[in-house]
Symmetry: C2
Subunit: 255 residues, 2 copies
């Protein structure tokens, strides 16, 4: 399996054809996986926004005041309003906003980015509205037919640090299913579902970087999904997500 960043992508602007920008810089193959950072997908889709587009309602003011009291830093209630508008549920409101986005991803601040916005005066970069549809569109516009994964980076419980995750995918199932398969001693496997799109996103993040030389597009080549059942059910329902249930009932308190 080979993983490499696509070099030389220009600053992406609203309406840009990402497929064309990538194909001008990489010879893609039908069995590649193309991994595109959500930041450039959002930029191409015009998902930049200004704080003034989000006049804060009472709930946003309340959230911002609480975060301000906890952090001792000024918090803009318009940012909290933007998070509310991008979310279907606030899972945790302190010491930071953890929410479920409309498409199912759980992330801090609904994944709204205040860095990497680029020129143009916009303050915020929202996640793509429906990242799997974004992946479909990129794929349709390519001459070749690789799988396409839209990636983000995200923290997690129990472990420090962020790692790449998938938030949208096309031309590949999200997971491969080893259920009913056995190890070489004939024991049924305990690991049953492998979230391959997340593992591909993690691999891509190792080569794309974040900084000055940030390269937002990577290719995974010579990797095979293999002969397994696939599933697109990546985001847990609340019913089966005990952590989400526990966080709903939990209240942050400072010592």
């Amino acid at each position: 399996m080979n993983v490499f960043a696509v070099p030389g992508l220009p600053e992406v602007r609203p309406g840009d054809d990402l497929a064309a920008l990538v194909e001008a810089r990489a010879d893609l193959r039908d069995d590649d996986v193309l991994l595109v950072a959500s930041t450039v997908v959002s930029k191409a889709e015009g998902r930049r926004a200004d704080l003034e587009e989000f006049p804060a309602g009472p709930r946003a003011k309340e959230l911002a005041e609480r975060l301000e009291a906890i952090s001792g830093e000024q918090k803009d209630p318009r940012f909290a309003q933007a998070v509310l508008e991008e979310s279907t549920e606030i899972i945790m409101e302190a010491p930071f906003l953890l929410t479920a986005t409309k498409f199912g991803h759980v992330g801090v601040n609904a994944g709204i980015d205040r860095s990497n916005v680029g020129d143009g005066g916009a303050d915020l970069l929202l996640l793509p509205e429906r990242p799997s549809e974004s992946a479909d569109r990129i794929r349709e516009n390519l001459e070749s037919d690789p799988a396409v994964v839209v990636t983000d980076t995200s923290g997690r419980p129990f472990r420090h640090g962020q790692r790449g995750v998938a938030i949208g995918w096309s031309g590949i199932p999200a997971s491969r299913d080893w259920r009913g398969e056995t190890d070489r001693d004939g024991h049924e496997l305990e690991v049953t579902v492998e979230a391959v799109v997340d593992e591909l996103a993690a691999a891509a993040n190792l080569v794309t970087g974040e900084g000055d030389d940030g390269l937002p597009v990577a290719v995974v080549r010579d990797w095979e999904f293999g002969n397994h059942e696939g599933s697109d059910n990546l985001y847990r329902d609340v019913d089966g997500d005990f952590v989400r249930q526990a966080l709903r009932g939990w209240e942050f308190a400072r010592d």
Copy 2:
């Protein structure tokens, strides 16, 4: 970056020299990262165990009874005893046991494996006692000097499916730190700490597989950590882990 599985590893037995087994099958380089599944590390370290080594105390019996009532399946209290003995904290006791291992990793059943145990009649495969020390030892026994990462697979909140994670590492920091670095527009980066050992483990898991043809060792070649600060602080303290705090106070209840 190139990722490949090391082929042809035999069934690993207690006392086997993993370094020699790997070097007989792969030309390792000093700038490689060698990823070794915890299953084979445990086997080499004699971490197979029999259920009868864990006579169940009252707490284990109580845990097993509760899990039995919830699942409708028979649960062996000796297994719960083994989980207790491998853990420093039971974070969640129903509908499954989520615990913190002695070395800091949070996982279901303290990472004890009942598949993949191989011949020899043992029922259980415990995780290595101190996986970063295991990684040190493998590295010391190699002729070459790659980084070594001991991997496992693990589920996670919010998202279905498992993915590769690191539980021990040597010759590489767990994370690279982008703090204070800026993107190409001069904005300070929001992503500050990248858990590279977990991303490397995820990449390895894409090529090693789980089943009949499971290949427990992989190599990542031509990848650079780059010019960043590093950190070995991968496991969160309870103080900064809000999910762990929330789960402690949460009680599973069936509808």
